[in-house]
Amino acid sequence: MQQAATASVGTIPRPARRSSSLGDTIFAAACTAAGGFVLLLLGGIIVELFLGGLPAFRTFGIPFLWSTEWDPVTEVFGAGVSIYGTIITAVLAILLAVPLAFGVAFYLTELAPIWLRRPVGTAVELLAAVPSIIYGMWGFFLIAPIMAQYVQPFMIDSVGTWPVIGFLFEGPPFGTGIFTAALILAIMILPFIAATMRDVFEQVPPVFKESAYGLGCTTWEVMKGVVLPYTRISVAGGIMLGLGRALGETMAVTFVIGNANRITTTLFGPGNTIASVIALEFGESEIGSLKLSALLALGFILFVLSFIVLALSRFLLRSRLKA
C-alpha cells in the first residue's frame, strides 16, 4: 500500500493490481485443478478396475471374454454368459424403447396442444427420476407375475409356434428372465431417449417445417420427410445414450433377470448381466480371492463397453451440443 501512496498521478496503482491478479491466479488454478480432478477420477476408475482384474486376466487369458464357465468351487471363471446377457438385454431394450420414445417425442413436438406439452414432458422426465431399485421391486412384484400368468403363456402359444423366430419364445413362463429384464430396461431408458429426441426435434428450423406444410404435407410426412432426415444423427446419438444407460443398469436387472449362469436360446429363460453378477456375487467373495478379481475384471469389461457406446453417443450428439 505504501507504493500506491507514493505512486504518481496517472500510473496504475500496482499493488491493487497485484492482489487482484493473485486472486485471479488462485481462482483459475482452483478451477483448472477441479477439471483435472475429473480426469483423475475417470483415469482412476480405469486403472483401479484393471489392476483389480489383472489376476483374473492373467489366470484365464483372453478366453476369459467368451468362456461360459463360472464355478467358484473350482475357481474357474469366464465372462461369456454375462457379456452375452448384458448385450442381449440392452439391445432388446433399445428395440422395445426406441419406437415408444419416438412416439412420445413426436407427440410432444408436433401433436400435443401447447398447454399440455410441459406437464406431459415433465411426467415423462419423472419416469427417468424414479430410482433403479424401485423399478426392480415394481418389476419383480408386479410385472413378473403378469408376465408369468398372461403375457408369456400367450406369446409361447402364438409367436412361439411361428417358424424361424419361434424358438426365441419357448420354454416355461417363469415371469422373470431375459425378456422381462429387457422390458424393465426399456421402460427405464425410454425417458432418456424421448427427451433427447424431443430436444433435437425442437431444433429443426420452423421455416423448414412450414415450407413442407405449405406444400400440403401431412404431419407425419413433415416428420418423415423433414424432421427425421434433419435430425437423424442426433437421434442416433440419443439411442446410443439409452444403450449406454441400459448396459450398466444394475438393481432393476438384478431383481428380474432370474440370475442363472447359462446361455439360453429362449428369451424367457433366466440369465445374468455383468452388473447383476457383480452386485450378487460380490458379497460372497473374499478379499484377495480370484473370484473378486474376476468380478473386477467384469467391471473393467463393462466400463470399456459403456465407454465406447457413450463416447459414440457424444460424438453423434456433438453437432447438437455445439448449436
Binding site: D24, I45, P131, M137, V226, G244, M251
Partner: protein
C-alpha cells in the same frame, strides 16, 4: 423429402387417383398419430402404475414406527429410522463435498476453457461420468477406500455418492453460465473488477437458480443410488452414525428387505420405497420450479 415430391408431383390429372392418394396419405398420417398418442399414453400409464403400486403397497405399511424405530429382526415390529438417518448423512455429506467441486469444474469449462483442448477433454470425461454405470463407481471406491483402510465405511459411501453428483453439477453449472450474456461480463471487467470477482459476485449470482436446480437434481439422483453403496457403506442393521463403520442407508435396506422371505420385511421395503420415491419426485419438481422463477 422424396415422399413430399412424390406426393405432389404424380401424374394426377385423374381426380379419382388423386382422391385415392389423398386418402392413403391421410390414413397413414392418422395411423401414425394414433400410434404416437398410444406411445405417450403407455409412458404416462407406466408412471401412474409405479406410483399406484407404491401407494397401494407402501401406504398400508406406513405407520409411526417406520419413522421412530430402527431396523429389527423379522416379526418384531421394526422401522427404518437408522436407514433414513444414514441416507440423510451420506447424501448430505456427498452433496456438501461434491457441489463445490462440480461448480468449480463447470466454471472452468464455461469461463476459462472455451474452445481449449484440455477443456474439451474435461467436458467429454465429465459427460462420460454422468452416464457411466454407477456400480463401477462403487467398485472404484471399494478398491480405493475400502480395501486399503480395512473395511466398509460411511466415508466410502459418501465418496462414491460425491463422485456421482459431481458431473450432474458440472453439466448444469456450465449450461447456466453459458446462458449469461457476454455484455454482462464485459461490463464488470470494464469497471475494473478482477475476473474471479466477476465470476463469483456476478456470474454465479446470475446463474444461482440454475445451479440450485442442478444440485437438487443431483441430490435426487444419489438419494436413490443403491449399487455403489453395496461395495462402500455396505449397510448396517443397527443404529450407527459412525462414518468410519458400515453405515445403513434406505436403498440398501430396501434391497435386502425386498429380497427377504419375511412378509413384514417386504412391507417395510415397500414403505421405504414409497418414502424414497416421493422424496426423489418432490426434489425433481422442486428443482423445476426453482428454475422457472
Amino acid at each position: 423429402m422424396s415422399t413430399t415430391f412424390q406426393a405432389s408431383s404424380g401424374p394426377t390429372k385423374d381426380a379419382a387417383v388423386a382422391a385415392a392418394l389423398g386418402r392413403s396419405r391421410k390414413r397413414s398420417d392418422l395411423i401414425l398419430r394414433v400410434l404416437s398418442y398410444g406411445a405417450t399414453a403407455i409412458g404416462l400409464v407406466l408412471l401412474a402404475s409405479i406410483l399406484v403400486t407404491l401407494f397401494a403397497k407402501g401406504f398400508g405399511a406406513m405407520n409411526l414406527s417406520v419413522f421412530t424405530e430402527v431396523t429389527r429382526p423379522p416379526g418384531s415390529n421394526g422401522g427404518l429410522l437408522n436407514a433414513m438417518v444414514g441416507s440423510l448423512i451420506q447424501v448430505g455429506l456427498a452433496t456438501i463435498i461434491g457441489t463445490p467441486i462440480g461448480m468449480l469444474v463447470g466454471t472452468y469449462l464455461a469461463e476459462y476453457a472455451r474452445g481449449s483442448a484440455f477443456g474439451n477433454v474435461v467436458r467429454f470425461v465429465s459427460d462420460i461420468l454422468l452416464s457411466a454405470p454407477s456400480i463401477l463407481v462403487g467398485l472404484f471406491v471399494y478398491q480405493l477406500l475400502v480395501l486399503p483402510f480395512g473395511g466398509f465405511s460411511g466415508w466410502a459411501g459418501v465418496a462414491a455418492l460425491a463422485i456421482i453428483i459431481i458431473p450432474v453439477v458440472v453439466r448444469t453449472t456450465e449450461d447456466m453460465l453459458a446462458l449469461i450474456p457476454n455484455t454482462l461480463r464485459e461490463a464488470v471487467i470494464g469497471l475494473g473488477a478482477p475476473k474471479w470477482k466477476m465470476i463469483v459476485t456476478v456470474c454465479w449470482r446470475a446463474a444461482i437458480s440454475g445451479i440450485i436446480t442442478g444440485v437438487l437434481l443431483g441430490v435426487a439422483r444419489i438419494a436413490g443410488e443403491t449399487a455403489p453403496l453395496l461395495f462402500t457403506s455396505l449397510g448396517n442393521n443397527a443404529w450407527s452414525t459412525d462414518l468410519t463403520a458400515p453405515m445403513p442407508s434406505l436403498p440398501i435396506t430396501i434391497y435386502s428387505y425386498a429380497g427377504s422371505p419375511f412378509q413384514d420385511w417386504i412391507e417395510l421395503a415397500w414403505a421405504g420405497a414409497l418414502i424414497i420415491t416421493l422424496a426423489v419426485l418432490i426434489l425433481n419438481i422442486l428443482a423445476r420450479s426453482v428454475l422457472r422463477k
